[in-house]
Structures are given as structure tokens and as C-alpha cells.
């Protein structure tokens, strides 16, 4: 039964993939958001693909001694050497094992964030983005998905935090409520 279902799925995948190139381009489509759904400390978060330059997995990091706990090291991506920050620590959780995934953030000073799990790519209409409270400074809102409402991280705000020494110090304490 499972074998039959796999065959059906493979045929459907082939058909869907082929049929996608047979359809004409839609003239206009409603504005949409490309999101990357990730999982940090067993909580789902969404990243705006527009704020991400590249996504990588299993990259070797070069350790860089630093008093900042969230700095995991340095990575070289397409000729760019970028610092890698642990998103888990940035979001106020305890540090865990080395995260596998890296997302290079589109910022004036490129940096990368590391997280444990990449769930999927998601494209949703911008109308699905709902606003959150004022206290959630690291998020841009909440996206309604099949997994439930997922907070959309504002990577620009995170970058801004790096730029501001004081804000870095006022980052959420570990173990407290996440953004």
C-alpha cells in the first residue's frame, strides 16, 4: 500500500512539475511573501526571504574568540567572510549544540544566523501577515500557516541591534519569554 502511494506520489510530482511549465505566466498576482519557516528551541519562526541572501547547511565554521556568547564563529560564503550568530541565543534561549543551518542576512554588514532546523519554504500573501504587540521588537508580525501562527523575525531589527552596543546588552535574558 505504501509502495502504491509512493508511485502515485512520484507520478503526481512528475505531472505537477511538468504541468508547471505548460501554464502561462499570470499577468498579475497579489503581493506575496516568501518565507523560510525554521524551528528554534522547538518553536517555529519565519524568516523573510527578502532579508536573506543565501541559505546553507553543514557549513564549517571558524571559531573566533569573542566575549559575546551568540557569536559562533566565522564562515566564508561566496567570498564573503561573515560572522555567524546563534539565533537561539539571540532569541534568548540557552545555547545548545552547534546549529546546522546558516542563513546569510542581507544587511550592510553581512552576517549569518545559525539555527537548528529548517522546515520549509513558504509563500503566503502579505495579507496573512498580522501585527503583534509593541514589545515584540525583533518580529514584524505573525504569519498564519498550517503549523499555526508563526512569528516573522525582523532580521533588520536584529542587525540594528548589533550595531547598537547598548541594545546588544539589553538583549532578552536567557530562558525568558521569547519575542
Amino acid at each position: 500500500m505504501a509502495e502504491l502511494r509512493s508511485r502515485f506520489t512520484a507520478a503526481q510530482l512528475r505531472a505537477d512539475f511538468d504541468s508547471a511549465f505548460t501554464l502561462a505566466h499570470a499577468a498579475e498576482s497579489p503581493p506575496q511573501l516568501d518565507l523560510l519557516v525554521i524551528r528554534v528551541a522547538d518553536h517555529y519562526y519565519a524568516l523573510d526571504l527578502a532579508q536573506v541572501t543565501a541559505l546553507h547547511a553543514d557549513r564549517k565554521l571558524t571559531e573566533a574568540p569573542s566575549p559575546r556568547r551568540e557569536l559562533l564563529g566565522l564562515v566564508g560564503l561566496r567570498g564573503i567572510v561573515a560572522p555567524v550568530y546563534d539565533l537561539r541565543v539571540l532569541l534568548g534561549y540557552d545555547a545548545a549544540a552547534s546549529p546546522r543551518w546558516l542563513a546569510l542576512v542581507n544587511a550592510p554588514a553581512p552576517f549569518a544566523i545559525a539555527f537548528e532546523h529548517f522546515e520549509r519554504h513558504l509563500r503566503v500573501p502579505t495579507s496573512e501577515l498580522a501585527a503583534l504587540g509593541a514589545s515584540q521588537s525583533a518580529t514584524r508580525g505573525s504569519v498564519s500557516t498550517a503549523l499555526g501562527p508563526v512569528p516573522l523575525l525582523d532580521l533588520a531589527a536584529v542587525y540594528a541591534g548589533f550595531r547598537h552596543e547598548g541594545r546588544a546588552e539589553s538583549a532578552p535574558e536567557r530562558g525568558e519569554k521569547r519575542p
Binding site: S6, L13, D16, A20, A50, T53, L55, H121
Partner: protein, 496 residues
């Protein structure tokens, strides 16, 4: 020293016998003397009689001679002839009777010539008278001579008779003295003997009364104890009889129980025999079951082998699937990065973005399918592992079952052997119980006899009790008699 009844009575009787013996001896001597004197008196009378008859015979001879001399008639010689023989006979008798008296013998010897002369003279006179007349004869002077001889003869006989008379007087006096002595001996001996026997009887009576009184009191006390003991014995005999009855009932129940046990043992033996045959059948069945279990074990081992192979295949599929998943993930990453690049290229990258999007979708779906397949494979592997474990558990269970079957077979064989032993034991029990029932029947008979003996003992004990009561009563009466005798004896002693 304490004298026994026998010695006391013997002493009393000895005194009495001695007294009687002494009196008897004295009386015997007096009587003997009296008889001797009387015999001598009679002897004297016989001597006097013989002398008198001798003289009378001579007179008869003389009378006959005178008659013939007067008449010369021969008829008168008859008394003469008869008198001659009487004279000889009485003379001989007198001589015999006087043999113990020498004086009288001498006188009698002196008389003999006189008698002979007188007889000769009478014979001569008869002879003369036949030839002569009376006158001649009378004148011959023979008559005078004859008279003289006759007078001498009478004088001599008178002397003899006188001497006998003297002896008679003496002997009569002696006889009278003997009579008086005998009378005195009898009278005084009887009196003295009576007194002695009375004294001895009194002494013995007092002594015996004292001893018998003590003894009778002891007998009375013993009778009371005997009565009490007889009472207890009677009660015990009654209880024993009751107990024997209960024992008899119990023995009867025991006998019935023994029969039931024998019957049950026989049924047990039958059931054990059936059980043995069924156990043998069970042993055969277990043997077949063991073979079947061995077959199952082989099949299970084959299943385990196949399942392990399936697990390996699943692991290989998982490895391939890892590659697919990694490819899908890399494809997805590439597609996402391509989307990013396409978005950065603006309108020129729009078409590329579509392709990248489709590739991302495909990779995303492949990744989902891969996850799904992985889940399925994980399920399969888990199922395989579970099946392997279950099968191994089943194999172990089969081995354990095989071992259990072996143990069951062994147990069946042991059961068969033990059931055979139990059958033999049950038969032995049956036989023993039958023997026991027979023994119990014999015991029942014996107990019945004992019960009968107990009843007889009860009756005998009752008789003993009655005898004890009578003995106590007799003791009391005897004690009363003894007390009365003692008081009477004491009263006589006090009066004396």
C-alpha cells in the same frame, strides 16, 4: 510367745486326752484286778464244784454198790458204773483246777489213794456179794471198812473244800477291794478330769475369744475394705462393660471403614491403572508435540533469518533514502538560493525564479515524500525489529516450550512410573486393608468375648460385693458373739 489356735487347742485336747488316758489306765487296772479276782472267785467255785461233784459221784457209786449188795440186782450196778467214770472225770478236773495251788495238789494227791482204796473195796464187795449171802457178807466186816474209808474220804474232801472256802473268802474280799478301788478311780478320775478339762476349756476359750475378737475386728475392717473395693470394682466393671460396648461399636465402625478403604483402594488402583495408560498415551502425544515444536522452531528460525534479511534491506533502503533526502534537501537549498538570486536579478530573473520555484517545490515535495518514506521505512524497520524480537522471543518460547515438552514427557514418564508404583501401592493397600479388616474382625470377636467376660466379671463382682456384704455382716455377728463370750467369761472370772 504367742500360741496359735492349733497349739492351744492341742494343749487343751492333750490335757483332756491325758486325763482320760490316766483315768482309763487307772480304771483298766482296777477292772483288770476286779476281773482277775472275779475269775479267781469263779475258779474257786469251780474247784468247790468239782470237789462236790467228785464226792457226789463217789456217793452215786456207793449207792449203786449198796443197791446191788442188797438185791444182787445187776440193774443197780448201772449208777455204779456211771459213777466210776464221773469220779475219774471230776477227779481229773479237780486236779487240773488245783494245778496252781501246791497245797491243794498235795491234799488231792493224798486223796487219790483213799479214793482208789474205796473203789477197790466196793469192787471187792460186789464181787463178794455175788458169791455170798447178805448175812455172810454183812458179817465179813467189809461194810465197816468201807464206812471208815468213806468217812476218811469225806474228811479229806471237806479239808479240800475248806481250803477252797478260805481262798474263796480271801478272793471275794480282794474282789470287793478291787471293786471299791475301781469305783473310786472312776469317780475321782472323772471328777478330776472334768475339772481339768473345764479349766483348760476356760483358758482356751478366753484366749481364743481374745484372739478371735481381734481377728474378727480385723476381718470386719477387711470386710469393709473388701466391700468398698468390691463397690469400686463393680463400678469399674460396669464402666468396663460400657467401654467394651463402645469399643465393640467402634471396632464395628472401624471394620466398616476398613472395608470402605479396601473398596476405595481397589478403585484407586483401577483409576491409577487407567491413569497409567492415559499417561503413556500422553507421553506419546507429547513426543509428537515435541517433534511439532521442533518443526515450529525451525520455521521460526527461518522467519527470524528472513526478518533479519528484511531489516538489512530496509537499512539499505534507508541509506539510499538518506541520499535521496540529502539530494532533496540540497536541491531545496539550491532552489531557495536560486529564488533569492532570481529575486535579486529583478525582472530578468523572473522566469528563472519560476523554475527555481518549481524545483524548490519539487524538492520540497520530494523531501516530504522522503520523510514519509523514511517514516514508512522506520515503521517497517521497527516492525521488522519488533517482529525479529517477537520471533526471537517466540523462538525462545518455542525452545522453552520444547524444553517444557521434554520436561512434560519426562514428567509423563515419571508419572507413568509413579502411577505404576501408586497402582502397586494401592493394591498393597487394598490387600493390607483386607488383611486389616480380617484382623479387625478377629479383634471384634475377641472384643466381643472380652465384653462378655466383662459382663460376667460385672456379675461376678456383684456376687463378690454381696459376699463382702455378707462377710461384713457375719463379722459383725461373730464380733457380737465374741464380745458376748468375753463379757460372759469376764463375768464368770469376776464372780470366781
Amino acid at each position: 510367745m504367742t500360741w496359735t489356735f492349733g497349739r492351744k487347742l492341742a494343749l487343751g485336747f492333750a490335757i483332756s486326752v491325758l486325763t482320760v488316758f490316766v483315768i482309763g489306765i487307772a480304771g483298766h487296772r482296777a477292772t483288770t484286778d476286779l476281773i482277775d479276782n472275779d475269775r479267781w472267785v469263779e475258779h474257786t467255785y469251780q474247784v468247790k464244784h468239782s470237789l462236790s461233784e467228785l464226792l457226789s459221784s463217789l456217793k452215786d457209786v456207793e449207792t449203786g454198790q449198796r443197791g446191788f449188795l442188797l438185791t444182787r440186782d445187776e440193774g443197780f450196778l448201772e449208777p455204779y458204773k456211771a459213777g466210776l467214770s464221773d469220779v475219774e472225770r471230776y477227779f481229773a478236773e479237780a486236779k487240773r483246777l488245783m494245778g496252781d495251788n501246791p497245797a491243794q495238789q498235795q491234799r488231792l494227791n493224798a486223796l487219790r489213794p483213799v479214793v482208789d482204796q474205796r473203789l477197790a473195796l466196793m469192787a471187792k464187795s460186789i464181787t463178794l456179794r455175788r458169791g455170798e449171802s447178805v448175812e455172810a457178807f454183812t458179817n465179813s466186816g467189809i461194810l465197816q471198812e468201807g464206812k471208815q474209808q468213806m468217812d476218811d474220804l469225806r474228811r479229806r474232801v471237806a479239808e479240800l473244800d475248806e481250803a477252797e472256802s478260805v481262798l474263796l473268802s480271801q478272793r471275794q474280799a480282794s474282789a470287793q477291794a478291787s471293786t471299791a478301788s475301781a469305783q473310786a478311780t472312776i469317780v475321782w478320775g472323772s471328777l478330776i478330769g472334768t475339772v481339768l478339762v473345764g479349766l483348760a476349756g476356760l483358758a482356751i476359750s478366753r484366749s481364743l475369744a481374745a484372739q478371735i475378737g481381734v481377728t474378727v475386728r480385723h476381718v470386719q475392717a477387711s470386710s469393709a475394705e473388701l466391700q468398698a473395693a468390691a463397690n469400686q470394682q463393680a463400678s469399674g466393671a460396669k464402666e468396663q462393660a460400657t467401654a467394651m460396648t463402645e469399643v465393640t461399636t467402634t471396632i464395628s465402625e472401624l471394620m466398616a471403614t476398613s472395608r470402605q478403604i479396601a473398596d476405595s483402594a481397589r478403585r484407586v488402583a483401577e483409576i491409577a491403572s487407567q491413569t497409567a495408560s492415559q499417561a503413556r498415551a500422553g507421553d506419546s502425544t507429547v513426543g509428537r508435540g515435541t517433534e511439532a515444536v521442533a518443526g515450529i522452531k525451525r520455521q521460526v528460525d527461518a522467519i527470524v533469518s528472513h526478518m533479519l534479511e528484511l531489516g538489512k534491506k530496509s537499512q539499505q533502503i534507508g541509506s539510499v533514502l538518506d541520499i535521496v533526502a540529502e539530494l532533496a534537501e540540497q536541491t531545496n537549498i539550491l532552489a531557495i538560493n536560486a529564488t533569492i538570486e532570481a529575486a535579486g536579478a529583478g525582472e530578468a530573473g523572473r522566469r528563472f525564479g519560476v523554475v527555481a520555484d518549481e524545483i524548490r517545490k519539487l524538492a520540497d515535495r520530494v523531501g516530504g515524500s522522503t520523510k514519509e518514506i523514511r517514516g514508512l521505512i522506520d515503521d517497517v524497520r521497527a516492525a521488522v525489529n519488533t517482529t525479529v524480537m517477537t520471533t526471537e522471543t517466540g523462538s525462545k518460547a518455542v525452545e522453552a516450550g520444547s524444553e517444557q515438552f521434554f520436561q512434560v514427557a519426562t514428567a509423563f514418564r515419571q508419572i507413568t512410573a509413579q502411577v505404576s508404583t501408586a497402582t502397586e501401592a494401592a493394591r498393597e493397600i487394598e490387600l493390607s486393608t483386607k488383611q486389616q479388616a480380617t484382623a479387625v474382625e478377629q479383634v471384634n470377636v475377641a472384643i466381643t468375648n472380652v465384653a462378655q467376660a466383662s459382663k460376667e466379671s460385672e456379675v461376678s463382682t456383684g456376687q463378690t460385693l454381696r459376699t463382702a456384704v455378707e462377710l461384713a455382716s457375719l463379722s459383725r455377728e461373730l464380733l457380737k458373739l465374741v464380745e458376748a463370750e468375753r463379757s460372759a467369761t469376764t463375768g464368770r472370772g469376776a464372780n470366781t
